[in-house]
């Protein structure tokens, strides 16, 4: 009898903690703005380093990723620190490159691209 009660409590605890963690993840994702910037002129690795340095100074910037061949930069910022497109364009220009398209999204761009397929 005691064994039954113990395992029931254990399973219920597991279910509750799983629900909490998935809602925490969902909550965290909901607090993030995903940014994708198309940059022209990125033709060498040392060039990209200069751009990375400047973008890392954007308030709250994280998970910065640069794809040289595609000329795409992606990064994440907390929603309450979302920068303006103009400020991001200035960062890219100050790094010596030409900003093209800047997009903001509530979901990661990889997921968004897969949804659009």
């Amino acid at each position: 009898m005691m064994k039954k009660i113990f395992f029931s409590v254990l399973i219920i605890t597991l279910i509750i903690s799983l629900q909490n963690s998935s809602s925490a993840i969902a909550q965290n994702k909901a607090d993030i703005t995903y940014i994708r910037i198309r940059v022209d002129g990125l033709s060498c690795p040392f060039c990209a380093y200069g751009l990375e340095k400047k973008l890392k100074k954007v308030d709250g910037a994280a998970n910065l990723h640069i794809e040289l061949e595609e000329g795409i930069v992606t990064l994440e910022v907390p929603k309450d620190k979302k920068p303006t497109a103009e400020s991001l364009k200035k960062v890219v220009t100050d790094a010596g490159f030409t900003p093209r398209e800047i997009k903001f999204s509530d979901i990661p761009f990889k997921e968004k691209d897969e949804d659009n397929k």
Binding site: D40, G41, L42, F46, C47, L68, E69, G71, A95
Partner: protein, 262 residues
């Protein structure tokens, strides 16, 4: 024994750092590039150049300090360390002729993973190298170079040209400098960088009085190990050298690193 120690100490100096004596700021190795990467002062570069002449061995290690005051204007200074060892004479080590330079982007057209840029540059060399005692470490001449650097660079290939006119003083001949380079990356471009670049360059210098043309062919290889470190090596072989027999160059060997400090 002294000779061995001497050569080892030169090699150690080689390995300490590398500064591009001819002002190359990234690829290529011997030719300048139109991409201004002063990176607000953290891009200190240096490499060692070993010049083997008919009657002398020369080691040059310049320290270049570039600084972007704006994205399109770069200021810099060059402090060259020189070790000269003529045959049958004691070696002399010291600071050579220092220089300051300014570069400005005159034209820039960026595309996806490519860029075309034209940069104007002015370099002023000061006769700070000891030229009184033999062997001289400096040219004993103020030299002002006006040049244009052009580059079409993609992630697949880089084409560069660097031409300029050098005005001299104190009896040294004015000269016209011309450099061309092709760079080819062997690996797929990625970031953080892991790349091996091959270069083939032509580096020339045409003196006006007396008229003399010197042209070198310069193959080289460059290994970019990560975000901030690059190791490169190249050799310059004379194709044409219109100088006195005792001044002819057997070869010039370059080995060094470029480090972005922070």
């Amino acid at each position: 024994m002294r000779k061995v120690i001497h050569h080892i100490s030169i090699l150690l100096l080689f390995l300490l750092a590398s500064i591009n004596y001819s002002l190359a700021q990234g690829p290529p190795i011997f030719t300048d590039t139109p991409i201004l990467l002063g990176l607000e002062g953290s891009g200190i570069r240096t490499f060692g150049k070993f010049v083997e002449k008919e009657q002398a061995s020369i080691y040059i290690q310049p320290i270049i300090l570039p600084y972007n005051i704006t994205p399109k204007i770069l200021l810099g200074a060059i402090v060259p360390l020189v070790n000269k060892k003529p045959d049958n004479m004691a070696a002399r080590f010291g600071v050579g002729d220092m220089a300051v330079f300014i570069k400005r982007t005159l034209y820039q057209k960026d595309g996806k993973a490519k860029t075309f840029r034209v940069v104007g540059k002015i370099k002023q060399v000061f006769p700070t190298g000891n030229s009184i005692e033999a062997p001289a470490l400096g040219a004993d001449s103020y030299q002002t170079l006006f040049g244009v650097v052009t580059g079409y660079i993609t992630t697949k290939i880089g084409l560069y040209s660097d031409i300029g006119y050098n005005i001299t003083s104190n009896g040294l001949s004015d000269n016209f400098i011309y450099n061309f380079a092709v760079g080819y990356p062997l690996l797929r471009q990625q970031y953080p960088a892991k790349q091996v670049n091959l270069f083939l360059e032509l580096n020339g210098n045409y003196f006006l009085e007396p008229q003399a043309n010197n042209l070198f062919i310069s193959p080289g290889v460059q290994w970019i190990t990560g975000r901030r470190l690059l190791i490169e090596s190249g050799v310059q072989l004379p194709m044409l050298e219109q100088v006195a027999a005792t001044q002819k160059t057997k070869f010039i060997f370059t080995l060094g690193i470029r480090v972005l400090l922070f």
